[in-house]
């Protein structure tokens, strides 16, 4: 299976470990990533650009979709925020042909036209739907030692549910749990798994943002989680990067590693932790990985 790969800004910036782990995992799972088609694609706007100008955001995303269409490949992302913002833009573009036509006028100069055939797909959905959980299970070579893992979807891969096709594909609401179970770990369910990690408030209201980090990580930990798994690099940045602060604000030790989805899969596929930069997290994964009998 081959995809036009849209890595997003964060996996090329503050989360290089996500990018590396994705490349490693996709290579083993036979997911071929075409990095060329979308190398000139812009940021989705992440919902922030849309605060200033939604039409501009829709135009930039239509441009990315047109590039993917030109490659003849389906579009895959590894960022929940990119997934959500692209799905919302796509919904607006596809529900109003006059709007799409006027957006396309602004793409004409570059020789691009969006015909409306793209469905952006997160790696999580590619694995659960295009490859299938059974296929993933068949590739597993390393058993994870009874880890209890809390799923953390965050917001943009579950809401708005209609734009993300959750009504048509209800299994998407359980995809992360399915992967956790497929790799042989135990799911620690908790109500915060589809709530906000606090990242969007980080520079606007740091106090609220850090309280969100504290609430979610402590809740998961109190329910017995050894680590948290997320398909969103922004959730990772906040839950990992600001965990020390959340710990001091809440006056409790947290020490809960925040693992990217492909890092978890990669461990079960037998990839060495340091190849996926698991030793490059703010909250150390050393204790967790020591049970794997390989040092990070």
């Amino acid at each position: 299976m081959k995809y036009a790969f849209y890595p997003g800004c964060v996996s090329r910036g503050a989360c290089p470990e996500l990018y590396t782990a994705t490349i490693e995992v996709c290579s083993i799972l036979g997911i071929e990533l075409d990095e060329k088609s979308l190398e000139g694609a812009s940021c989705t706007g992440a919902g922030v650009l849309q605060e200033k100008n939604q039409r501009l955001g829709d135009t930039l995303n239509a441009r990315t979709f047109a590039m993917a269409e030109a490659s003849g490949l389906p579009l895959m992302t590894i960022c929940s925020t990119c997934q959500g913002v692209m799905a919302q833009a796509n919904e607006r573009l596809l529900s109003d042909s006059d709007y799409l036509e006027s957006i396309n006028e602004d793409l004409l100069e570059e020789g691009l036209q969006y015909k409306g055939t793209i469905e952006p797909k997160h790696l999580l959905w590619v694995i659960a739907e295009d490859l299938g959980i059974e296929f993933l299970k068949s590739k597993i070579v390393r058993k994870l030692p009874g880890w209890k893992l809390a799923p953390f979807y965050g917001c943009y891969i579950v809401r708005p549910s209609k734009a993300l096709g959750l009504d048509v594909n209800p299994d998407r609401k359980q995809a992360l749990e399915q992967v956790i179970e497929a790799v042989g770990a135990e799911v620690v369910d908790f109500p915060g798994k589809t709530l906000c990690c606090g990242f969007p408030l980080l520079t606007i209201n740091p106090k609220n943002s850090i309280n969100m980090v504290a609430n979610h990580t402590l809740d998961a930990k109190d329910r017995g989680a050894d680590a948290m798994v997320t398909p969103c690099p922004l959730c990772h940045l906040n839950l990992d990067g600001y965990q020390p602060k959340a710990s001091s604000v809440s006056n409790r030790e947290i020490d809960l590693p925040i693992i990217h989805l492909p890092q978890l899969i990669g461990l079960a596929l037998g990839i060495e932790p340091q190849k996926m930069r698991l030793n490059k997290h703010i909250v150390s994964t050393k204790k967790l990985l020591s049970e794997l009998a390989v040092s990070p």
Partner: protein, 317 residues
């Protein structure tokens, strides 16, 4: 069909006063709503079960509560749609982010205080007209979605910011505020936008879309908050972390095609905000040590000039 409801009970006048869950098994028609189930319990099983309801038709907004952990109106939620596949009961809890008075009844005092805080009434500039105010039809059509709000509190119940900050005005009040800033008969935009720019206003929304998802009337509160952000900035309020963040993000994508993660927090807090800059240092050091610092020299994407051209085209529209 057989239905199991697990209801959170709390009675401040009982001897133990401890909130607990109680399970009820019922026989219900396939077309029954959650409210039908609750009324059946109250009328036939346990007359002490307390809940608010009135119209039973999603008009009055009385029966918002948490159904399987997510806010909704009990009267327009069919039991068959929320029955867990694994046979476990449907969980019914009072709305969140408001204190519980008894069982499924919560205290709306803070809700009304916030609605009142945005002055939800027309404040026209000119003298009252002799007959009625005339508003262009298209303006009122634009407001049709937001005036559908029935003040049920579902959005407030599930707001992820109100969970950590009771000062936040919240989705219902902000959507209401939007409705008045966009009403052509209202003339106090400057005052309204300046209040909404304050702490607890439009910038404190975390864009989680929970309110969009749970609103039973399609009010889409978060989009209204985002439109208010745009209006606040257009109105000249660019001196908040939120506005600086949006402007820095915009500039970064415009000039390089993607996000400069290193400059974004610096520009958002403001480089001369010494306290915030010092506050960034511990994270900066941790990120540096972990090899997670974004590149110092931010390279443009290939063809960034094409992205810039699109910005120019759309900005000039």
């Amino acid at each position: 069909m057989e239905v199991k409801l697990k209801i959170r009970r709390y009675d401040p006048e009982s001897t133990d006063m401890v909130a607990h869950y109680q399970e009820f098994a019922l026989q219900m028609d396939d077309a029954a709503t959650v409210l039908d189930g609750l009324i059946q319990i109250r009328e036939q099983v346990d007359g002490t079960l307390s809940l608010r309801c009135s119209c039973r038709a999603a008009i009055c907004g009385s029966c918002a509560m948490k159904i399987n952990g997510e806010a909704g109106l009990a009267c327009n939620t069919k039991i068959i749609d929320v029955m867990p596949i694994n046979g476990s009961p449907i969980t019914i809890e009072p709305a969140g982010n408001m204190p519980v008075i008894k069982d499924l009844i919560v205290d709306f005092q803070s809700f009304w205080t916030k609605i009142k805080a945005v002055e939800p009434w027309l404040q026209p500039e000119s003298k009252q007209p002799v007959a009625e105010y005339i508003a262009p039809e298209e303006d009122m059509i634009h407001l049709a979605g937001v005036v559908s709000c029935i003040l049920c509190g579902a959005c407030v119940s599930d707001c992820t910011v109100m969970e950590v900050d009771e000062n936040f005005l919240g989705p219902a009040a902000l959507a209401k505020a939007y409705r008045f800033t966009r009403d052509p008969r209202d003339a106090s935009d400057d005052k309204r936008l300046s209040v909404l720019n304050e702490y607890g206003g439009v910038w404190d929304c975390t864009r989680c879309m929970k309110c969009v998802e749970v609103c039973p009337k399609g009010v889409d509160p978060m989009s209204r908050i985002m439109m208010l952000r745009e209006r606040v900035m257009e109105n000249g309020h660019n001196n908040t972390n939120g506005a600086r963040h949006a402007n820095a993000f915009f500039d970064s994508v415009k000039h390089s095609g993607w996000l400069d993660e290193l400059k974004l927090p610096i520009k958002s807090f403001g480089i001369f905000n010494i306290k915030a800059m010092l506050g960034l240092i511990p994270l900066g050091i941790r990120a540096q040590l972990a090899g997670k610092r974004p590149p110092i020299f931010h390279k443009s994407i290939p063809g960034a000039k094409n992205v810039r051209k699109i910005f120019e085209k759309v900005e000039n529209k």
